[in-house]
């Protein structure tokens, strides 16, 4: 399975081709809330993921944004509930306001619309390392139960060379230095694994107290948003627990798609369906249109 090494794996501000609603068959809302009045609109699983990832930014002022799914979510948040959200890209832009989703962290529009453009050493040293940024928003190739991330290599067995992923990018220091970390990635047994083949970026290490022991300043991952639901670390054990499923998704689907025995919260919640405004804004970001039009 060398497919793992394909793009989805981005360290940070990188890799994945435009996250949302991309070639995924449009899922309908059928089954969501069985019979409850639902909007007529349909949405793709990736749209559910991105909308919920955007909502997770509520209350944050500044966000260090990875490209791909995190960028889609952060831009959606800025276009809907969080108009003052400051988007920071590792290419050196503070306060980017793109009208459409950038393909790369280096698209000219990120610089043209920024409050300030700084060098790459400056963005990492003065802004990230100094602990000035509220949220780091990351994608991942492999995640384990403590929200540690592998974006480096995949073990393909003794007879094959390691599968190569893109590498760390900014992720190790983003996860270390931001006040908290959000992660967004698609849910599958290939991505949610019992044991990482390589620890690129520390989430909660091997459990409670590990971040403090390692001298990691921020709180670490507080939520992992997927196309099936939302996982959050247990406050006692730091292990990821399924706390919410998306409309139309079953708990069994999520446990099936997880490579370890996933704990499920008592009274697991169901996320609110995307609103028309959220879907319109997300789709407009993909085409560069005005969501209010």
């Amino acid at each position: 399975m060398n497919g793992t090494a394909n793009g989805t794996a981005n360290g940070t501000a990188n890799g994945t081709a435009n996250g949302t609603a991309n070639g995924t068959a449009n899922g309908t809302v059928e089954g969501a809330g069985s019979g409850a009045a639902q909007p007529a609109a349909a949405w793709a699983p990736d749209e559910l993921m991105t909308v919920n990832a955007a909502r997770a930014l509520s209350g944050s002022r500044t966000c260090f944004v990875g490209i791909g799914l995190p960028s889609a979510a952060a831009n959606l948040a800025r276009r809907t509930s969080q108009p003052d959200l400051v988007l920071i890209y590792e290419s050196g832009t503070l306060g980017s306001k793109p009208s459409r989703l950038p393909l790369s962290i280096g698209d000219g529009e990120l610089a043209d619309t920024a409050d300030a453009v700084v060098s790459v050493p400056e963005i990492f040293n003065y802004w990230l390392q100094a602990g000035r940024i509220d949220v780091g928003f990351l994608g991942a190739a492999q995640v384990d139960r403590y929200a540690n991330i592998n974006t480096t290599v995949i073990d393909r067995g003794p007879d094959r060379p390691e599968g190569r992923l893109p590498g760390a990018g900014g992720a190790p220091e983003i996860a270390a230095s931001c006040r908290k970390v959000l992660m967004v990635l698609r849910h599958s047994r290939r991505n949610f694994v019992e044991r990482l083949d390589f620890v690129t970026t520390v989430g909660h290490g091997s459990g409670p107290g590990d971040r403090a022991r390692l001298g990691l300043l921020g709180e670490g991952p507080v939520a992992v948003i997927t196309d099936l639901g939302v996982l959050r670390p247990d406050p006692e054990t730091a292990e990821l627990v399924l706390t919410e499923i998306h409309p139309g998704v079953t708990v069994e689907q999520v446990t099936e798609a997880t490579g370890w025995k996933l704990r499920v919260a008592d009274g697991v919640g169901v996320t609110e369906p995307p609103t028309q405004a959220e879907l319109a804004a997300l789709r407009a970001l993909k085409t560069g249109g005005d969501p209010r039009a």
């Binding site: 794996a9 290419s91 393909l103 280096g106 698209d107 000219g108 893109p166 590498g167 220091e173």
Partner: protein
């Protein structure tokens, strides 16, 4: 003092087999035309340094010019994998590629140390990561003032740094702006510096947001309009995102890749 040279002469004079070469540009101002000239001249056994290898190093690696890569994120930004990079690392094609792998913060600081002519830089980095296990250029150091243990990363001092920039004057003073990445640090860290530019002007008008590399820090300037394509030079060109997407199928297959390189690089000039 920088001399204004043709790209061919500048590459031939400044870059030699076995050199450590940094061709920088953090998604912006990437010196593609200079890389193509290196390939055409058959320069080989290079140690290539770059934070984001990008399509430029995918091409150099796929053509067998590199024996070693120093980097921090090796993907096709926004698209997916770098297939030639992966093929070299996983299968040794067209030759094995040694890696020295870092995080972005680590690489940025390695350039800062190199530009400062210090042996290493310190940062709060790599804590708990497996990366230091695979690199001889990451260590720890104890702060003499607070006792805090910090990451130390070895300076990078390339034999040659190549960057693209917006413009230069006839004296060889260079001006660049927009996403300035690590262009300044990479240039000041190197023994020799080659800059390709969009435009050579009579007079460099100061810009408040610009980085200036004075002529006496640069060895050669070559006038290569469009020399960053498919990357770009803000104010002159835009990033060719379609090319980055098209590179994925071109580079997946060895023969398709070689045919593309023959047609667009080896037989071009």
């Amino acid at each position: 003092m920088a001399e204004i040279r043709s790209l061919r002469d500048a590459v031939a004079e400044l870059i030699h087999d076995g050199d450590t070469v940094a061709m920088e540009g953090f998604t912006h101002l990437i010196p593609f035309a200079a890389a193509h000239e290196i390939i055409r001249q058959g320069i080989t056994d290079l140690t290539l340094v770059r934070m984001t290898p990008d399509v430029i190093y995918d091409q150099l690696i796929g053509m067998g010019t590199a024996r070693r890569l120093v980097f921090s994120w090796g993907g096709n930004p926004g698209v997916g994998s770098l297939h030639r990079f992966r093929d070299a690392v996983e299968n040794g094609w067209p030759r094995p590629l040694e890696l020295d792998e870092h995080s972005h913060a680590g690489m940025a600081n390695r350039y800062v140390a190199g530009a400062s002519r210090l042996p290493f830089a310190v940062l709060r980095g790599y804590r708990g990561s497996d990366l230091p296990k695979r690199s001889s250029t990451i260590a720890t150091v104890t702060c003499p003032f607070t006792g805090e243990e910090l990451a130390a990363v070895a300076a990078v001092n390339p034999d040659v740094t190549v960057i693209h920039a917006q413009r230069a004057d006839r004296e060889g003073n260079v001006q660049l702006w927009g996403l300035v990445g690590v262009q300044k640090e990479a240039a000041l860290a190197a023994d020799r510096v080659l800059v390709t530019v969009e435009e050579i002007v009579e007079e460099l008008k100061p810009r408040p947001d610009a980085v200036v590399l004075p002529s006496w820090t640069v060895h050669a300037v070559a006038h290569v309009p469009g020399g960053a394509h498919p990357s770009y030079a803000a104010g002159y060109t835009v990033r060719d995102n379609e090319f980055y997407q098209a590179w994925d199928p071109i580079s997946r297959d060895r023969e398709t890749f070689l045919a593309w390189m023959r047609e667009h690089v080896l037989e071009a000039s």
